[in-house]
Symmetry: C2
Subunit: 239 residues, 2 copies
């Protein structure tokens, strides 16, 4: 990551990088919560790969650097998961954004889903706000796409989709070995609800990947899947 | 994992496997919260590698299988981290236990620590309870060791200790390649407080490992470190 991004006192998303202006919420956050002082560094991004260095000046952003464009990821990675109870969805979206997921997909109810949202649009808007805030915290210049509710059938046909399954292949653990080279790398991991998927909910043709030898709560599985996907993606970039 | 453990309706820790008896808390949990019915399967473990199959009978455990002994891990893995604010330590310990850490180490305050516990013993006892509950949930037969507060100096000399550092080696991402073979595998990852460590807090001789390309909150870093350690340990076991 570029040092200017890592070291800025704050990172914000703006509509226009030509003349970056803060939303009321962000203005309040930077001035009242972070209490920025004149001259402190702020980076502004459009969330679509563009960003530029600014500094805090009289409660607003003053541009101090040119617009930089970071290319879109060559291979998007993501996690699709069934909503869980309470505020743990916020938590999952926050962590998935930090870990670097490009796609965060909320699944429509499946057979064993406990949570069935009657206000899915509102929930999704809220989760998009959570993702935006986490992206500010982790200095992302590409905002993740939060989408849903996506049916399991549609998720299963996403390119690179694999279902998290304790009896699946240990693809992540065998990464880099000859064995793994014969398997298609998963790029979207689908995590089921606490009750899991029934065998007949998942066609035999869909790859199944194991996330480890332990039993994980649904929201932990989501996190572990994201970490393994990000690590695999990084390893591929390094090789 | 053994199917009897994975498929039991509940998993509990008991003092004596010869004649397993439930604590009042567990008895209440199984009878009132999980509402077990007679004949449902329960596995009981001593938390030191021993376990046996039981079934629910008149509000207690009835032994139905012999005692099984699972060997101790040949290489323990763990994470050491600085306590953070609020209930996020509970959350971290729960997740670290699920992911399979053998050692969970709470660090004594370092230079940039925000949290300085005045009641560390009480906090650690509480976290041990959290670990025990998470180990029940994830069907572990070896309880993790929750310890602390350990000074940074003592943590740094633990065998296999490495400090999480964005500028560290990408050991986890290069695992399985020739490059990684020349480096010592980390088995304990030390995660600093939100403010990080100063350069002079960590001797140059201590390995530094990168957890990825993104900026992570401290508690997210703890999780990511655990996931990468568990995955590396599993890969080693498979090779």
């Amino acid at each position: 990551m570029i040092d200017a991004l890592r070291n800025s006192v704050a990172h914000v998303f703006v509509d226009h990088l030509d003349s970056p202006s803060l939303s009321d919420t962000d203005q309040h956050h930077l001035s009242r919560v972070l209490r920025l002082r004149d001259g402190e560094s702020v980076t502004a991004s459009d969330g679509r790969g563009g960003w530029r260095a600014c500094e805090w000046a009289d409660g607003q952003l003053r541009v101090v650097g040119d617009i930089v464009r970071v290319p879109a990821p060559t291979q998007r990675i993501g996690v699709a998961f069934a909503p869980v109870k309470g505020d743990r969805n916020d938590w999952s979206v926050q962590k998935l954004t930090e870990i670097g997921m490009d796609d965060i997909v909320l699944l429509a109810p499946t057979r064993h889903s406990v949570v069935r949202w009657s206000d899915a649009d509102k929930q999704l808007r809220k989760l998009s706000v959570v993702a935006r805030e986490a992206a500010m915290q982790s200095r992302r210049v590409w905002l993740p796409a939060v989408s849903g509710l996506v049916s399991l059938a549609d998720a299963l046909v996403m390119p690179g989709a694999a279902v998290a399954d304790p009896s699946g292949t240990a693809w992540f653990a065998s990464m880099g070995t000859e064995h793994s080279a014969t398997l298609t790398a998963p790029t979207v991991v689908i995590v089921g609800p606490e009750g899991g998927f029934d065998i007949d909910e998942i066609p035999a043709s869909v790859p199944r990947v194991s996330l480890g030898d332990t039993i994980l709560r649904a929201e932990t599985a989501t996190l572990v899947a994201a970490t393994l996907l990000a690590s695999a993606s990084r390893a591929k970039g390094a090789s």
